[in-house]
Amino acid sequence: MSDVTANQSNLRVLGGGIAPRPAPATTVGVVGWLRENLFSSLLNTILTILSLILLYFTVPPIIEWAFLDAFWTSFDYDGNGEIGRNDCRVEVLDADGKAINAVRGACWMFVAERWEQLLFGDFFKDGSLLRPTLAFIGLFIAVAPMLFDQVPGRNVLLLFAVVYPLLAIWLLSGTGIGIYYELVYLGLIVSILPFLFPHMPMREPLTKFARIYPLLAVVLIAASFFVSADGLTLVPGILTSVDTHLWGGLLLTMVIGVVGIVLSLPIGVVLALGRRSHMPAVKLLCVIFIEFIRGVPLITLLFMASNMLPLFFPEGYDFDKLVRALIVVVMFSAAYMAEVIRGGLQAIPKGQYEAADALGLSYWKSMYLIILPQALKIVIPGIVNSFIGLFKDTTLVLIIGLFDILNTAKLALTDAKWIGSVKEAYAFVALVYFIFCFAMSRYSIWLEGKLETGHKR
């Protein structure tokens, strides 16, 4: 080449008339997908083969056991007048080739027969099962406005949500909570009304009432310690009283889980704010509390509750076992929740705090109006994770003798008719937990996706 290049224009005009062509056959379509995803390298090929082998050895036996060979409906197949595990027996060949009667598939009859106990514990002994079912349905109605956005009649549902706890306690235990607390509760509902229904009549007097309500509440609670109410209550006594030791199964799990979740969030917020406070005493106390609770296993706290709590109070103060467990579970969950929320508070840029201050908002107002809404939105996945963890941890009350669904299943297994139905019982309990926890985690992912559009960094 010579200096010809010096003056030659580099012009090339191709005009762009090349139509798109299909990709080479080995890179697209089923073949392409297989090559890319399953067989792209030697290692991948080996892994694919190993996985297929694994699936071959695990999936068909499980499907056979759980579905194909299983007994689903209760029927007295062996004709001995009662329904038990023996009704699931079929003819199988044992190790020596002899034909014997043994259980081959899953005996879901166990679940069909014992579902009352598994779901409600011994509740049916003293009360109709309609009550916990109504409480369960009510729970979903109460939670709906928080879970979903476009729910009609949102404000009415929120009112229902506020009333729900008292309603649930009445349905489940058949009694109220004593006239003092009921009056406190009633006052709470009345003072919230003007916020929920901004256009209702009588707004003025209600708002005034809302201002003095906190003082009234404190007075009433203090009075309850000194003047015994002696069973006086506002709720109608039309339901039979069901003692908490009869609550069991899924009912108990839900009670502990829901109470734990509902109470641990506000307490966790308070602890998180306290931990970030500039007042050394408050900060130190919160830190000690949180680190202590997070450092010990829940079991030890439950032991502490069941063994030591009676010692902390004067004679005669008898604590319901369930209440003890609830106190511990709430404290435990609140500590973890506090750490999650603290992460959210730390993620809020300092400018937000400063802006709130500059507007002249007091500490609590700025928290409530500006900081906390943002912080909680950021850590929703963490909060839901906390909830899932709490829900799973309810199984631990087994160790202090409360009959949650796992313990109830274990108890049902001791019945002579159903001995050996271990796999069915645990599979059922696992399924229940899986459904709840998986639904919660999917919900959190959905919620995160929905809120991210407003919060993209």
Partner: protein, 577 residues
């Protein structure tokens, strides 16, 4: 006779001193390093031993403190291989001394480091002083700013609030303590920690250190502690390995593999751990009876009593004196003695058989193993320093990994062979209905370990996946564009960045695993909560003390891990404006 646990505090001291000394050198320590070693090491050891002794003996048990400075003879020669109860200060076992000395040592070192830090000013964020590029004729620009100072609110309101808060908490405490004291009195329950030295009256079996019912509650407690330790350590190791594998598999572009990994993670994370423990326990006790055990390579056996295998003895069997033999025989009772004579094949073999029955895993002469291991570690450490210096100077790379691994594995073996230490492999054999000899791991432990590892691995897989995804793909591209090979890119760029995101939640998962091990009692495995938090509590009725001890153990573990995590976070924090 040496006991392997004797080396723990010394090794821990040395390693900590070496690391600390390294940092001090970088900060411009004016003293020669050998002097620093000597001073800080000696001081830490003395302080540690003294503090440990003082605290445990005198304060809790009201017993006169034993020998403050552990005499070499008593430390290195114990007549008894068990965790002799510290209630008898004369027969203090070396292992008990380990418990006292190690925390004391670490405390001493911490104090020394703190004082050093104050004087030489290693900054809070562990930032090394900027390297000196003035040889290039360049003046370094200023540092990025650190955070501003805390602004304290001096208003009266905050003071009043704090007084109110402290006051109410104090009142609450007073209320609780007064009631507790009154109730304990009323119910006639003793208080204080003296019960630790009373006989336990229950056996601790199925764990890693059998304790008979004649030994004290303290011995049972230490057996439970060891069990917790073993479950936690081996559980963490297994969970990490499994979790990393599954996390990486989940990221693979092999569709089947990543979906399988996802199914694994989602299923196991949504089922309570207690249920999983019970499930695996139910599976493992369905294994065949010992007579029909599953054989693996004809040396390992799996049956419904547990997992059995051979036992490796390093060092010789102990030589028992006549009185020791006599004591043992009288404790055994006639029936067992006759059986022993039968198995030994005559009365003349009884002495050897008795010695065999109490033979420790690391007996006489096993110190060679540990000394050679320590020497190997130091050799590898020095080699790596030399290799790094060589690379900086000449650019040549050395096969560091291979040499390190080879040295640590081969050098101790070589030393053992040269020293002629006895290495005996005792196989487990089926005699009658059961297996004797060898190592046996109870089925409860196997089920617990398996369940905890598999459960925690699901969480670790998610953490690993999040960590690797957190590193932007651009980092990999930039590394490749510079010519780094995938292995180098992973090691030098991706992993360091991923580890920043992985390590904090990983350590909290380790903590969770340790805390979940407290569920062992549902499968009958006695660890801390089972021994001192369970049986001891029920027997002595001293709920407060037992629960306090249990919680204290877990709190110490949590605190140590938290401190480590804070240190690690500060050290590796990415420096930003």
């Amino acid at each position: 006779m040496t006991h392997f646990a004797d080396y723990i505090p010394y090794v821990a001291c040395l390693l900590a001193i070496v690391t600390f000394n390294n940092r001090a050198q970088q900060a411009g320590n004016p003293l020669p390093s050998s002097l620093t070693f000597a001073i800080s090491g000696g001081a830490a050891f003395l302080i540690g031993a003294w503090i440990g002794n003082w605290i445990i003996y005198w304060y809790f048990l009201g017993i006169q403190p034993a020998n403050i400075l552990p005499h070499p003879d008593t430390v290195f020669s114990t007549p008894d291989w068990k965790w002799v109860p510290i209630c008898d200060p004369v027969r203090v076992s070396s292992l008990a001394k380990t418990l006292l000395v190690t925390p004391g040592c670490l405390l001493g070192i911490a104090c020394a480091m703190f004082a050093w830090n104050r004087q030489y000013g290693l900054e809070n964020r562990f930032i090394r002083p900027p390297p000196d590029y003035s040889k290039f004729g360049v003046v370094a620009a200023g540092h990025g700013g650190f955070e501003g100072s805390l602004i304290n609110n001096p208003k009266v309101r905050s003071v009043v609030t704090q007084i109110v808060v402290i006051g109410s908490v104090a009142l609450l405490f007073y209320f609780i303590v007064a009631n507790t004291a009154h109730n304990l009195d009323r119910l006639g329950i003793a208080s204080g920690f003296k019960f630790l030295c009373d006989p336990a009256r229950y056996d601790v079996t199925g764990g890693f250190m059998p304790v008979s019912s004649t030994e004290t509650h303290w011995a049972a407690f230490t057996a439970g502690l060891l069990n917790t330790f073993v479950v936690a350590v081996f559980g963490c190791i297994a969970a990490t390995i499994l979790g990393v594998i599954i996390g990486v598999l989940r990221l693979s572009n092999n569709w089947i593999v990543s979906k399988l990994a996802a199914v694994y993670v989602e299923t196991l994370r949504n089922i309570p751990v207690l249920l999983q423990i019970l499930f695996w326990y139910g599976i493992f006790i369905l294994l065949p009876a010992p007579r029909q055990s599953l054989k693996i390579f004809d040396t390992f056996y799996l049956n419904n009593r547990g997992f059995l295998g051979p036992k490796l003895f390093v060092g010789d069997a102990p030589v028992l004196s006549a009185e020791q033999q006599a004591t043992m025989i009288s404790e055994m009772g006639d029936v067992k003695y006759q059986r022993l004579v039968e198995e030994a094949g005559g009365e003349e073999n009884v002495a050897a058989a008795l010695a065999e029955s109490v033979r420790p895993v690391f007996g006489d002469g096993s110190s060679v193993l540990f000394i050679s291991l320590i020497v190997a570690f130091f050799a590898v450490w020095f080699y790596r320093r030399w290799a790094r210096k060589r690379q900086e100077a000449t650019g040549q790379q050395s096969p560091v990994f291979l040499v390190s691994a080879g040295t640590i594995i081969l050098f101790p073996i070589l030393c053992l062979l040269i020293a002629g230490t006895t290495l005996e492999l005792q196989h487990t054999e089926l005699k009658g209905f059961n297996f004797v000899g060898g190592t046996s791991i109870s089925v409860s432990f196997v089920a617990l370990w398996f369940a905890l590892s598999v459960y925690t691995a699901a969480f670790i897989a998610e953490i690993v996946r999040a960590g690797i995804l957190a590193v932007p793909y651009g980092q990999t591209e930039a590394s490749y564009a510079l010519g780094l090979r995938p292995g180098q890119a992973m090691r030098l760029n991706i992993l360091p960045q991923a580890l920043r995101v992985i390590v904090p939640p990983l350590t909290s998962q380790y903590l969770n695993l340790t805390k979940n091990s407290s569920l062992a009692q549902v499968v009958g495995f006695l660890e801390i909560v089972g021994t001192i938090g369970g049986i001891t509590l029920n027997q002595t009725g001293q709920a407060v003390e037992c629960i306090v001890i249990t919680m204290a153990v877990y709190l110490i573990i949590s605190l140590v891990i938290s401190v480590f995590m804070n240190w690690y976070n500060k050290r590796i924090a990415l420096v930003e404006r």
